[in-house]
């Protein structure tokens, strides 16, 4: 790439060199001069020049103030901001006066007060007094536009950031401006709730207190927050977040822009999901099963004694079921305890994740720059890794071609045949184009990936390893499945026999506790030790329950979808000691050397698998590790068995795990409306055959179970397939009968 042409721009008599085409707002910032803005936000697409806050004087242009945000740096440009130009100063002062004419100025009541750009800019550029003596415009307020967000239209200054986000970032077009002139207001169509995976971002974009989250409403003022930089642990993307807490309790989560990972966006699950920490059925003390009374609370001393007894009694016949939500350190500590201390080497990992894709590692932002993207798999990307969906949308807007191969896609394939379709890509027209392209991306979203090995084999064949603009991503199901798997492997080199019969099953984490396979395994185990956050997941099967902690309450690291190691911080005080603390204590009873400090555990682990990086190296904005060249052609794991074709008249059931599901989401009242509607997605052909229209109730039956659902018609779905969210599919078998 050739270096961009540099131009010299003079801003307030300061000369600055910037690449040609840089926006004037950024150019001024480079010169150390602020051009105040409300509506300008480069992440929302082209500038609109609506708020008129950025007015500057430009020499050689018509003798009136120009909107700085819509101008671009050209050689020899001379710009005067409010610092040196009376015209610009008056214009900015006028804009603020006009904005404040109808702004309620209820700053003491408004949750934005204290971190409000309108407040800040009024102090710096605005009039000190008001000349407005008439009635201000009033609206009914506040109005919830969804259970998670409320709108105050009086405070709104109509910068159109939210509508532009809705139109050109999340592309849902749900937020619009209605009416016109002074009566313009932001609304959703027909006052429907604002739904979607990314709605919360508008609360962060809003430069005033018009769009505010309902969650910490009035509980806190911005200057009382203590912001802790951490990483979201609810999906494998690992969006960077700032966790704001007061008095040890988390009050809100904001995005923290990592330009390679999330570009400052955050999904609603990550943003609003934190209140599950304060759920009523949170376990705060160790629990022991008592025959007559169910579970009773015990002290930590007793709990550790009990745990030691259980571990010793099992005599090595121990299996560990992991969730993929443990920190890498916790997983390593647990692995070291059972593998080194007890010689038990059997684990049930949340999913198979191999390292083969490290040879094609790329930042997620590479998706934006790609020209050809192939998305393979059965799950919608937004349900697995929501931010990746935003990157894909951005790529499409930039002109990239996106080919989706799946049961619902541009190339329709039968469920379970993704691996076959992946192999087919090695030849054929699309494969040739992928091979020829310097900026191509492969994404696997769904099961049957063989830990990414199918994708790695394809990427090797396409020659992606030598092309830095090309990359391959496998979107795992769990947030840190990769890190957990590596930590488990790193704890010991020994192997052991399968425990037969199983003496003790250690269930680590909520996802494992909710997993039916783990439950089935527990049936065979003599004893069960569960580490979980919630009562309902512990009752009935665990002999000893130790309170779990969340990703927001632990120090540690997560390995995300790219293979980036990112640091989690303790952002809230957990109601119980975290896992590492008591695992270390327990380890000492088995003569296993284990530090209770995450940084030391990481250092030990890092020596083995992460090339010796330390917490300091990771920093707050973690760097992507270099590609790891493949030593040999990746061994492709065997295809998962293709489900049998549904016999005539029936449909093949395609399940997916919705984004808004799981133990955390179930406990957040604000997110309940986001959970998938009880719907069954049918193809156009099947709907026609069954005579079902959109929204009609249908009954879905299989093998004695029956579920009542509403019909939805998906034009992209392959005929013969019906898609239902896990929440609603429940016990349905892979072949279902649908009738009105």
């Amino acid at each position: 790439m050739s270096a961009p042409e540099l131009v010299t721009v003079t801003i307030d008599e300061r000369s600055v060199q910037v690449p040609k085409g840089t926006g004037i707002v950024e150019t001024a910032a480079a010169a150390g001069i602020e051009i105040p803005v409300f509506c300008y936000e480069p992440r929302l697409g082209a500038a609109v020049g609506a708020c008129r806050m950025c007015l500057v004087e430009v020499e050689g242009m018509p003798p009136k103030p120009q909107a700085g945000c819509t101008l671009f740096a050209q050689d020899g440009m001379v710009v005067k901001t409010a610092r040196t130009s009376e015209m610009a100063r008056v214009a900015q002062n006028a804009t603020l006066e006009f904005i404040l004419v109808n702004h309620p100025l209820d700053c003491p009541v408004c949750d934005k007060g204290g971190e409000c750009p309108l407040q800040d800019l009024t102090f710096r550029y605005g009039p000190g007094n008001t000349r407005m003596t008439f009635d201000k415009r009033t609206f009914e307020k506040p109005i919830p536009i969804s259970p998670a967000i409320s709108i105050d239209r009086e405070r709104c200054i109509l910068c159109y950031r939210c509508t532009r986000f809705s139109e050109s970032v999340s592309e849902d077009n749900q937020l619009v401006a209605v009416n016109r002139g002074a009566q313009t207001m932001i609304a959703t169509f027909e006052d429907e709730p604002y739904t979607g995976a990314f709605t919360g971002n508008v609360t962060e974009l809003c430069p005033v207190g018009a769009l505010l989250p309902t969650q910490p409403r009035f509980e806190i003022r911005p200057w009382e927050f203590q912001a802790v930089p951490s990483v979201c642990g609810l999906c494998p993307v690992g969006c960077n977040i700032d966790v704001d807490q007061r008095e040890g309790k988390i009050k809100r989560i904001l995005s923290r822009n990592h330009p390679e990972v999330d570009e400052g966006w955050l999904c609603d699950k990550g943003r609003f999901g934190f209140s599950h920490l304060y759920a009523e059925d949170r376990i705060t003390d160790p629990l022991r099963r008592v025959r007559s009374r169910g579970l009773e609370e015990i002290s930590w001393e007793d709990a550790l004694d009990d745990a030691e007894r259980l571990l010793r009694e099992a005599n090595g016949r121990i299996a560990v079921a992991l969730s993929g939500s443990e920190t890498t350190e916790d997983a390593y500590a647990l692995a070291k305890l059972v593998r080194k201390g007890l010689g038990a080497h059997t684990a049930m990992l949340p999913e198979e994740i191999g390292g083969g894709l490290d040879a094609f590692r790329a930042p997620l932002s590479a998706i934006r720059d790609a020209e050809l993207i192939v998305v393979l798999g059965e799950d919608p990307v937004v349900e697995r890794a929501p931010i990746v969906d935003l990157w894909l949308r951005k790529a499409r807007r930039a002109g990239a071609e996106i080919v989706e191969i799946g049961p619902a896609g541009d190339v329709q394939i039968a469920p379970g045949t993704t691996a076959r379709a992946c192999r087919k890509l090695k030849s054929g027209e699309l494969g040739d184009r992928l091979r020829a392209s310097e900026r191509a991306i492969l994404i696997w979203s769904g099961g049957g990936a063989g830990g990414g090995s199918h994708l790695a084999a394809l990427a090797t064949d396409l020659g992606f390893a030598d092309k830095p603009g090309c990359g391959a991503f496998f979107l795992p199901e769990t947030a840190n499945g990769r890190g957990v798997a590596e930590a488990w492997a790193a704890a010991s080199d020994d192997e052991g026999p399968e425990p037969e019969p199983l003496g003790l099953l250690i269930v680590s984490g909520d996802e494992a506790a909710a997993n039916p396979n783990v439950r089935a395994l527990a049936e065979q185990a003599e004893r069960v030790l569960a580490i979980t956050m919630f009562h309902s997941l512990a009752v009935g099967w665990a002999d000893l329950v130790l309170p779990g902690t969340s990703y927001l309450e632990r120090e540690g690291t997560y390995v995300n979808v790219e293979g980036r190691i990112q640091r989690l911080r303790r952002t809230a005080i957990p109601p119980a000691p975290d896992e590492l603390a008591w695992i270390a204590q327990l380890a000492s009873r088995f003569e296993v050397e284990l530090s209770p400090s995450p940084s030391l555990v990481f250092a030990e682990l890092s020596e083995r698998v992460f090339g010796g990086v330390t917490y300091e190296d990771l920093g707050e904005e973690a760097r992507l590790p270099d590609r790891v060249p493949l030593e040999a052609a990746p061994a492709e794991s065997a295809d998962e068995p293709v489900p049998a074709k549904a016999p005539g008249g029936t449909l093949q059931l395609l399940r997916y795990r919705p984004l808004f599901s799981g133990a955390a989401v179930e406990r957040v009242p604000e997110l309940q409306f986001q959970r998938p509607a009880p719907e069954i997605e049918l193809s156009v052909k099947d709907a026609k055959r069954l005579g079902v229209r959109r929204g009609e109730p249908v009954s879905v039956r299989s093998n004695g179970t029956s579920v009542q659902l509403r019909a939805a018609i998906n034009k992209r779905l392959k005929a013969g397939v019906a898609r239902i969210a896990d929440d609603h599919a429940r016990d349905l078998h892979p072949t279902v009968e649908v009738s009105k």
Binding site: A91, E97, F98, V101, M132, F134, R137, L158, T184
Partner: protein, 440 residues
């Protein structure tokens, strides 16, 4: 009547009929220019020094030259005809569409040829139902006669928003979006409709083109007040005048001639108080300024503009505060709400004018009103804010005594006697639900 250009022969014949229009030489220019290079047409328009008739007075030939060739931007090029005439006081485009629709169609097809475009959009004001019908019939006739030669012409009805008469608002509306002005640059010539090069012209400008080609640019340039204000305008004479209506006259005629010689003077023996020379958005002229010729440079010297050539006559019954209030209310109602100064400023202006009219204002609020106008002027995204601020500021400056009298007397000196009858439609008439009935 050698100087009738746009409406030539419309008095003698029913030019809505294709045959009649052809009988007076209609569509011959289209056929002639189709064999010419586009540059030849543009040269002719430049020689004629045709300026935009929508109000901005921009040279039309130059505007066409700005359209980049297809080799440079390989996208479809579009011609948009702005027939969303909604400025209070203007009714010239309606006259053209009602009486010489084929001249408009011919002009737009010539313009399409001049910029190598295959697509013409005519964006017509939603309330112009009769003009819409006439134009639709004319389009069907022309299409049936095979005159389009592969060009598609789309007649699009607006939904009742003044802002969609602003070129970028018109484009947004045509694209099916909310009618709001766009930030420029990029200009429509480079990135207009569907982000493609687009030529946007007023109805009158387009309808003048066939005649210019017929007469020859040099000949046309002799009409009117050369060098800048060449040719004729359709003057919309309205307000307190005996014979209001459309008059096609060469530019350079004085206001006095228009009002007294053609318009028959002021009715009921009233005295002339003021004249708005170019539609409600233009600064006002006082009675002693009416000897000014109606052409760009002379009006510019008096700090006003010819605009859309809508001459509104105000007699001594009218209260200038009420006039200002009515104008401000119109622009407040029509402000699109996108940029701050216009959205908030017009509302504030209305509140101030209401207070002045009610006698609740102070003298300092007169200065405040002027300052508010000044703070809107030149700071908005599109000209709508200027259009609201300029006239009201001119009323305050030129009729300051009348405004002061409102403050001093604690009410309107005219009492209930003031009449804006015949000047502007009452406000409640433009707050109706704007959707006109669509004929079956």
């Amino acid at each position: 009547m050698a100087d009738v250009i746009v409406l030539a022969n419309a008095d003698e014949r029913d030019l809505r009929q294709l045959a009649e229009y052809r009988a007076v030489g209609g569509y011959t220019q289209l056929e002639r220019v189709r064999s010419l290079e586009p540059a030849a047409i543009i040269d002719e328009l430049n020689t004629a020094n045709l300026r935009g008739r929508g109000g901005a007075f921009f040279p039309s030939g130059r505007k066409m030259q700005f359209i980049p060739p297809k080799e440079q931007i390989p996208k479809p090029h579009y011609v948009c005809v702005n027939a969303d005439e909604s400025e209070p006081g203007t009714f010239k485009d309606r006259e053209i569409m009602n009486r010489v629709p084929h001249r408009l169609i011919e002009g737009s097809l010539i313009a399409a040829h001049a910029i190598d475009s295959q697509h013409v959009f005519i964006y017509i004001r939603g309330e112009y139902l009769d003009a819409f019908e006439t134009l639709r019939t004319a389009l069907d006739d022309a299409r049936g006669a095979g005159l389009f030669n592969g060009v598609t012409v789309v007649l699009h009805r607006g939904a009742g928003a003044y802002i969609c008469g602003e070129e970028s608002g018109l484009l947004e509306s045509l694209e099916g979006k909310r009618g709001q002005a766009r930030s420029r640059p990029p200009f429509p010539a480079a990135s207009g409709l569907y982000a493609s090069p687009t030529l946007i012209n007023n109805v009158e400008t387009i309808a003048t083109i066939p005649k210019i080609l017929e007469l020859g640019g040099a000949e046309y340039a002799k009409i009117g007040a050369p060098p800048d204000s060449t040719g004729t305008r359709l003057f919309c004479l309205s307000g307190n005048v005996v014979k209001g209506g459309n008059y096609e006259l060469p530019m350079g005629i004085t206001i006095r001639e228009v009002i007294y010689d053609l318009g028959g003077g002021i009715p009921d023996g009233r005295a002339l108080k003021a004249v708005i020379p170019g539609g409600s958005s233009m600064p006002i002229l006082t009675a002693d300024q009416i000897d000014v010729p109606l052409e760009h440079d002379a009006l510019r010297a008096l700090d006003t503009f010819l605009g859309a050539a809508a001459v509104i006559v105000v007699d001594d019954r009218a209260c200038m505060v009420q006039l200002g209030l009515r104008v401000a209310q119109f622009y407040m109602h029509e402000s699109c709400g996108k940029c701050t100064p216009c959205r908030e400023g017009t509302r504030w202006m209305v509140q101030l004018l209401e207070a002045i009219e009610a006698g609740d204002a102070t003298h300092s609020q007169l200065d405040l009103l002027l300052d508010v106008c000044d703070r809107i002027l030149g700071k908005c995204l599109c000209p709508l804010g200027d259009a609201a601020a300029m006239p009201v500021a001119s009323y305050v400056v030129k009729f300051r005594d009348e405004f002061r009298a409102h403050v001093d007397q604690g009410g309107c000196p005219f009492g209930g006697e003031s009449s804006l009858e015949g000047l502007f439609a009452p406000v409640d008439q433009h707050t109706h639900h704007p959707v006109a009935e669509v004929p079956a």
